[in-house]
């Protein structure tokens, strides 16, 4: 069906003469610019266009594809760098040079590349939507499962084996349906699953403050605010590198071009510590900088999460980072104001909260249609203007997410890394995960951690008094609390991302470290009660030696040496 343009006002174009459905993708103008229908009024429809509309005239033709904005899913997604509507940036560069021109289409998946397809079903088998019919080795360590499109089922008539391109038929059903390795899925629609679970397993990041104090569950949601110079980038990279997920999807949404260039340069150089292979082999990057078309920015987070869902359906644990969801919200605001919609708070559309929750709701631990267990953990960065957390995007995000990692620039200035504020951060998964911790870490892990949190809370209150009267004026047991908290902060919470050993801290080591601090605390308490002077308890040498053990390659031995010495030193003081 062909229609024509009625009106052009920036990225918003009104068309007439065709009857599209909501969210249909249309191509407008002689150059065929891609757009999406976002409002229908009588015989006219409003389209948001993903490309620059300068020079486009009323009367130019419009073609409806009849499909909503979709991504191509299949082997070849990994290692790709896409723009917001899944055009590979490398292909765009080859086609139009260093600047992004318009009217250029590029397939999300390479049509020429050949993959080795190994079937896992035989002819005569009955297959249902979402079921795995074969596998492809996508990168050295990721096996890509070829699944039936979720809406297709039947009996296999013919299944092939060997080398194929993504759009070649690999399976024919008895009703004549041909299935290739590639499927398309509309980005605004969550992919169906068999069942969603309550997340019960932690995402293990090897970062003590995250795993220990504020864990996020696999399939959970977390938010990080990113004030200037707080080390957000390092934290995100540590998460991408170390968290025990199989696939990483990173969405750079409306951020700086130069910073994005940094990510694009650095990610391919990062090494996956588990396999020694480049981290890119299990990563998909989506880059849509602040000066690229605003409608594509709006779409970029949906493109990202749909790709994440696809890998989840194969039974993988996926972590998705959206940097930054505030820019995404601003794109919604901009389009909303172009549509002359009634604004809500601070000019954001009234549906801001609904869109944010719909997006975060696509996270989760699931049993997929292929009966695999997979998960998507969403970590969204927010950039509150002027650092004001009361603004609508931050507030609406915090209402939905279960974990908040409060990066704090002041801590970063004091060189406390990772600079996550332990007083304002929170995790609502601590309860739900306690069974897992008790079973897999240690039965007393949860009380140990709760006690540490409690002490840190006390410290902040005591610090206020110290600032007024000095620490000497405190009673001895409170002085001891301050010392234990210093140990907690410096020995446990601080972690050096650039130290070869300290950069990743397994749970077992986290537990032993915390236990050691707790042991010193108990013995010091007992000695204090037995009348040993405070200064003797503080001058225990092994206490200071404890600071270094986290950097030791041979952690267990080093810790044992220190703890034995501690026993002896306390025994020498008497009282224990």
């Amino acid at each position: 069906m062909k229609g024509e343009i009625y009106r052009v006002a920036g990225p918003v174009v009104t068309i007439m003469g065709i009857k599209p459905k909501m969210y249909d993708v249309v191509h407008v103008g002689h150059e065929g610019l891609m757009g999406e229908v976002i409002r229908i009024e009588g015989d006219k429809a409003t389209v948001q266009v993903y490309e620059d509309t300068s020079g486009i005239k009323p009367g130019e033709p419009v073609v409806n594809t009849g499909m909503s904005l979709s991504v191509e899913l299949g082997p070849g997604l990994l290692e790709s760098i896409y723009d917001g509507i899944q055009r590979p940036l490398k292909v765009l560069q080859e086609k139009m040079g260093d600047f992004i021109d318009r009217g250029v289409t590029a397939n999300g998946l390479d049509r020429e590349r050949v993959w080795e397809f190994k079937p896992t079903v035989s002819s005569g088998d009955s297959v249902t939507g979402g079921q795995t019919i074969g596998v492809v080795q996508e990168t050295e360590n990721v096996e890509h499962k070829i699944m039936m499109p979720p809406t297709v089922s039947g009996t296999v008539e013919e299944i092939k084996s060997g080398k194929f391109k993504v759009d070649e038929t690999v399976c024919v059903l008895t009703d004549g349906t041909e299935v290739s390795m590639m499927q398309k899925w509309p980005v605004r629609m969550p992919r169906p699953v068999e069942k969603k679970f309550i997340p019960r397993k932690p995402l293990i990041t090897g970062q003590r403050i995250l795993d220990g104090l504020f864990p996020v569950a696999k399939g959970g949601t977390a938010a990080i605010p990113g004030p200037f110079g707080s080390g957000k980038t390092v934290t995100q990279q540590q998460l991408a590198k170390w968290s025990d997920t199989d696939i990483v999807v990173y969405i750079g949404c409306g951020e700086r071009g130069n910073e994005m260039a940094d990510v694009l340069n650095e990610f391919p150089e990062l090494q996956d510590p588990k396999t020694g292979r480049p981290l890119m082999e299990r990563t998909v990057l989506i880059a849509n900088t602040s000066n690229m078309p605003v409608a594509a920015r709006e779409a970029s987070v949906y493109t990202g999460i749909t790709i994440a869902e696809y890998y989840r359906d194969m039974g993988y644990d996926v972590s998705l980072m959206a940097d930054s969801s505030s820019r995404w919200a601003e794109a919604m605001r901009e389009i909303s104001s172009r549509l002359e919609e009634m604004p809500g708070e601070e000019g954001y559309p009234a549906y801001l909260s609904a869109r944010l929750s719909e997006f975060y709701e696509r996270a989760g631990a699931v049993k997929s249609l292929a009966a695999e267990e997979g998960s998507i953990t969403v970590i969204g960065a927010v950039s509150p203007p002027g650092g004001d957390f009361s603004e609508p995007v931050t507030q609406n995000t915090l209402r939905i997410v279960k974990v908040f990692w409060a990066l704090d620039a002041k801590l970063a200035q004091r060189r406390h890394f990772p600079s996550i504020d332990w007083l304002t951060s929170y995790s609502l998964y601590t309860q739900g995960l306690s069974d897992w911790f008790a079973e897999n870490v240690a039965p007393d892990w949860v009380p140990l951690r709760d006690h540490a949190m409690d002490l840190l809370q006390q410290e902040s209150e005591l610090q206020e008094i110290v600032q007024l009267v000095g620490s000497d004026a405190l009673p001895e047991d409170q002085q001891l609390v301050l010392e234990i908290c210093r140990m907690l902060r410096e020995y446990f919470l601080q972690q050096n991302a650039f130290h070869p050993v300290d950069t990743y801290c397994p749970f077992d080591k986290q537990y032993k470290l915390l236990k050691a601090i707790s042991k010193y605390s108990d013995m010091a308490q007992a000695s204090l009660e037995a009348g040993i002077p405070m200064k003797d308890i503080l001058s225990i040498e092994s206490k200071d030696e404890l600071a270094k053990v986290k950097f030791e390659e041979n952690f267990d031995d080093a810790l044992n040496v220190v703890m034995e010495k501690m026993d002896k030193e306390f025994a020498a003081l008497g009282g224990n």
Partner: protein, 459 residues
């Protein structure tokens, strides 16, 4: 395409509306012939089969229904040429210096296209501005966009001029140019800039676009785009390193708001349009370095914060797009310190990739961190002194307090023509740091103390 329409139905503020035209392209350039023989130019803002809205750059004064309107059939393009260097042009690209029209080597769409992030090179070449507070603690690199956040009555123009005069990449002889775009500044300020450019010979390697306070506000929306188009042309076609100075972004945003109001758009924060972030990004993001090309575009914009309020939408949105900011402080200015740059709220996000061994000097980061920490603590202590008096401070704190004074007096303060090399800047840093007890220099590795501390340095 040269058909003239006389179908204006409405004129309102900077906008005019026409009916019954042939299809007109969005963003098309429009020529308007007034009954008195003068001509004006405009741009299509909204086009439909029934009505076309045009924003008129030179203002709608004198326009009536008798005026003829010609649609050019193309978007606004800037004729570009290497001969633009040394020229003074109006805010819409017409010669103002009495010289001939630019003979174009090419005509380029002023809106520019967005750079493919995949083609960008992460910026890392140090630019020496000769100002210690920038080179030492908030280093500028090629391809960066670093605005000056200032306030009314502060010497931001002098700082910008000093940078334009002194900026260079040490040890590099590569061609260098300045593109200067004035948006809504006063005639006096413009003259001041021009005089300085001419006096110092900087004009030869500069392209100047002037939109003054009494020029139409609408033109201001085009001026920075013209300037950036010229800059990109010189950078990417003629391999030059271009420093773009845009002043004043606040006037630009005011014009944006004015246009938004004229178009009866739904306003966002403080009445500024909801798309201001994207609009500003389309200017600021036109800085950068491209893989495999020699030139670069570096942006140094000036922005006056209304009421010195850094959370105002203009500085706030800018701060989220630019790679840091240089904050000019009223307090330091009142103390008589030039340049009154407060390093604490200032930031260069790309500093770390532009400094260190082989770029500036190995001890650069340590010295900068140490001065930063000392000055921050010293300023906190000043607050305390106001309450309890200087005598109540410990010896250590007194030393820190003195350091903060020294920092302002010797590191921040410098002459208007004083062009400090990076070695000079670091030397001043070490000189004032050496007034502190060595035990307080916790951020500096011992090897640098041995190598550079005046007390250790063997000469």
């Amino acid at each position: 395409m040269t058909k003239e329409y006389k179908t204006i139905t409405e004129i309102s503020g900077p906008l005019m509306f026409l009916e019954k035209t042939e299809p007109v392209g969005y963003g098309e350039l429009v020529h308007i012939n007034l009954p008195d023989g003068t001509t004006k130019r405009g741009q299509v803002l909204d086009t439909s089969a029934d009505v076309v809205a045009v924003q008129v750059f030179e203002g709608t004064g004198g326009l009536n229904e008798e005026s003829g309107v010609v649609f050019s059939g193309e978007t606004i393009k800037l004729p570009v040429s290497k001969d633009m260097l040394g020229r003074i042009l109006s805010g819409s690209g017409e010669p103002l210096d009495g010289g001939p029209r630019i003979v174009p080597e090419d005509r380029v769409d002023v809106n520019g296209a967005s750079m493919n992030p995949y083609s960008r090179m992460p910026p890392e070449d140090f630019i020496q501005t000769g100002i210690s507070t920038i080179d030492g603690t908030n280093t500028l690199v090629r391809g960066q966009k670093l605005p000056i956040f200032s306030g009314s009555g502060l010497p931001h123009n002098e700082i910008a001029l000093q940078i334009a005069r002194q900026a260079k990449v040490p040890g590099s002889e590569e061609p260098f140019a300045v593109v200067f775009a004035a948006m809504g500044i006063t005639n006096e300020e413009a003259q001041y800039f021009m005089e300085d450019f001419e006096k110092t010979g900087a004009l030869e390697r500069a392209v100047v676009f002037l939109n003054l306070a009494d020029d139409p506000a609408v033109e201001r929306i085009i001026t920075p785009r013209m300037a950036l188009t010229a800059a990109e042309y010189l950078a990417y076609e003629h391999d030059m390193h271009v420093l773009v100075i845009l002043t004043d972004i606040t006037n630009y945003c005011e014009a944006l708001r004015q246009m938004g109001a004229a178009r009866e758009e739904v306003p966002g924060r403080r009445g500024y349009p909801g798309y201001m972030y994207t609009d500003l990004a389309s200017l600021y993001e036109r800085a950068g370095v491209i893989k495999g090309r020699k030139g670069s575009v570096t942006q140094f914009s000036i922005l006056t914060m209304p009421g010195d309020d850094i959370t105002h939408p203009i500085p706030d949105l800018s701060g989220y797009i630019t790679e840091g900011q240089i904050v000019v402080s009223r307090e330091l200015h009142m103390k008589g310190i030039y340049p009154p740059i407060n390093v604490l709220p200032s930031l260069s996000r790309l500093m770390n990739s532009g400094i260190g061994d082989g770029k500036t000097r190995d001890d650069h980061k340590a010295v900068s961190d140490q001065m930063y920490a000392g000055y921050a603590e010293g300023r906190d202590l000043r607050g305390l002194v106001a309450i309890v008096g200087k005598e109540a401070l410990s010896d250590r704190d007194q030393k820190i307090l003195e350091f903060a004074d020294l920092f302002e007096d010797r590191f921040v303060r410098q002459g208007r023509d004083e062009d400090r090399s990076i070695e000079d800047t670091l030397q001043v840093g070490w000189d004032i740091l050496s007034e502190l007890p060595e035990a307080l220099l916790t951020r500096i590795d011992n090897k640098y103390i041995d190598k550079y501390h005046p007390a250790h340095k063997s000469n």
